[in-house]
Symmetry: C2
Subunit: 400 residues, 2 copies
């Protein structure tokens, strides 16, 4: 039987990362392709203990239906944390718990964008969000990302073209680049969105994972009227498998997201929400984050030093101060196809999985000679071994 | 700040049930408004035990990212169960695990329907699905539901009008009516959808909860080419709070649902999936269902006898052979507004929560003089007390 799929979905492809990850299933493959937290950074023992408490003390809450807005005690904890960071304004903001930040970003687009509405995104940007926006047939336009955030002139130019509903930004340790937006650019971007009446969707999954430099305040701290939707997650600091994220936004927006979440999955798994809540109540979050940051600092430093030591000197790369990713760029003159060939050869012949930059472009036919490396998932041993092999291949293909 | 919400969402209202459920938060209110499984029917102890095993034996699977298609061992278990019932055809079908059947139905509409595509639904039907379809701006048309399923003449007439993409049916113990579609009507509906090239979305959340009469085979058992999408859930037989459902459909449809689920929530909570899987492997599902059915049979019988004893004799009601709901209809001549007044008075003045039939109509302005009663959530004592009070109110308002 031939099916007529909806237009918004028929053009959507399974992500290129999925193809790469298929190879990663081979236990011999060293994967630099994932976006998972370091296994040793997950508080598995603590969560196991908390889970026991939940199921002994409150099984009926864990196993029965909950409300769509989320488990009230968790919402209160999240509000407290965000208020302390200047992100939650009790005057007009509200918080909803979502099934990961993926759902937070998807529902934000759904409530605000009609088909063919314009949305500006960093170029490159996170493939999961790009595909979520595309699945509502939103017209995506890229704004070139620089080491300190989007190019402001280009942002203004594209806002001035009109019809922009949403501007999607990942200001901290961006996926895929690892770049962080400067405070100056955050202020300018916010002012521009105000001038052209666009809403900002500020996605901050990695902000807690800063291991170097000084924290930069969220764009949401500039907000006085509800122009910024802020999304966060417990995936990188507690566990991704439990699927808990949240949105902090103007009450009116949250109300619409609640309606959409109700029809999407009724509510987020109760046990997952209760785990996060108990963790926040029992443990000192700052102490926990300090431990995580040490793990990530060690791994980044190791991978950066190995890249310097092993890669072709013509390859440039970012030096993130947090997050999970390093973005490498092949020498000028290298074509997109040669970059894809490099990634394909790396996984097929050398069993090192990396993600080609095409995955993070608005269209997979856009040109790029970059690729993404993840340092959080592999062991130290595999970081050393994998970068050595990638280094040899890079020199072979692009010279010393 | 004034927000311009997307057209598909701006017309969506928080469900009327939510308003009623707000009153239900009052511990003094007896709620016949929920759709939750009976607390005593949830295998909480077994699930608690299985949870301990999971977190001791496989914490890294439970806490890390999983694949969008679902936890492979659970998909295999579901395929086995569905194959035994003639629902899964390994030739062309596949299965994806979803975050409850709500997501199963929502994503089915998303992958197949453009905005303004026509979808036929039973009238009345499940509000969660109706709102999910509306959130994609699908044009819903109702087909009158009779005690043995939709009116077949009307179904053909509306199919013949053309442009119907999907036909949404809940054949077993339908929500809100409790009605079950006869085998003859299942066959006819299937043949008609074949004739007019529409896809059927068969939603079967309650099928396992039959406590009287003979099982009737799923419409999906008639399928030979992938015309039927079948959705199911663990919400009513294990736990709703864990949010695990599934879709069984043609591989091509599943592939598109996978892409949409990836952008919706990446994957369903791993722990929840592992719980279902271990339950199915360790316990005899049929034995478990036998226990559940006894609980539900007892509760339905009790509520039906109390309705007969206490309600105004002019009120008619369905006699479901399974599921969670009884649908009552006020005497002829009663207006929609009078029915809503009855429901409002019941909860506000008499502290008995019931759901007005308007909640299950395509438009909340459609006329109906019915209301829904749930017998699974209240205790036996409250069933007796609540129906007595409702009975008094019904006689007061509509005569003996």
């Amino acid at each position: 039987m031939e099916f007529k799929f909806s237009e918004k979905v028929s053009h959507l492809q399974a992500s290129a990362i999925r193809e790469i990850l298929k190879y990663s299933a081979d236990p011999e493959v060293i994967s630099f392709a994932a976006g998972s937290p370091a296994p040793e950074a997950l508080p598995a023992k603590e969560l196991e203990e908390l889970s026991k408490e939940i199921l002994e003390e409150e099984p009926s809450i864990a196993f029965q239906y909950g409300v769509t807005e989320g488990y009230t005690p968790l919402r209160e904890e999240v509000k407290k944390i965000l208020a302390a960071r200047g992100v939650f304004d009790p005057e007009y903001d509200d918080v909803i718990i979502t099934s990961g930040a993926q759902q937070a970003n998807e529902l934000s687009a759904k409530v605000l964008c009609n088909e063919n509405d314009v949305m500006l995104v960093e170029s490159p940007s996170f493939i999961g969000s790009l595909n979520a926006f595309k699945s509502y047939h939103v017209a995506l336009k890229g704004v070139r990302l620089e080491s300190d955030g989007v190019n402001i002139e280009e942002l203004e130019q594209k806002l001035a073209e009109g019809g922009v509903k949403l501007v999607y930004l990942i200001p901290n340790f961006q996926n895929p680049t690892g770049n962080t937006m400067s405070w100056e650019k955050r202020v300018k971007a916010f002012e521009l969105c105000k001038k052209y009446d666009a809403v900002i969707l500020e996605d901050n999954p990695y902000g807690d994972l800063r291991f170097a430099g000084e924290d930069i305040k969220s764009i949401k701290t500039l907000d006085t009227e509800g122009r910024v939707i802020y999304s966060g997650t417990f995936s990188k600091i507690l566990s991704p498998g439990i699927r808990v994220g949240y949105v902090c936004a103007h009450k009116d927006i949250i109300q619409k997201i609640v309606v959409c979440k109700q029809v999407a999955d009724v509510h987020t798994t109760m046990w997952s929400q209760m785990l996060c809540c108990r963790f926040l109540k029992k443990y000192d979050l700052d102490e926990h984050l300090k431990k995580l940051r040490k793990v990530y600092e060690k791994k980044t430093t190791l991978m950066l030093s190995q890249i310097e030591k092993n890669f072709s000197s013509k390859i440039t790369f970012t030096r993130p101060q947090g997050g999970l990713f390093i973005y490498c760029t092949l020498p000028e003159g290298v074509t997109t196809q040669q970059m894809v060939d490099f990634c394909t050869k790396a996984v097929k012949e050398y069993k090192i999985a990396i993600v080609p930059g095409t995955a993070f472009e608005i269209s997979e036919t856009d040109e790029t000679r970059s690729f993404r490396l993840n340092f959080s998932t592999p062991t130290d041993e595999n970081i050393i071994k994998g970068t050595e092999i990638l280094g040899r291949l890079s020199k072979e293909m692009f010279g010393d």
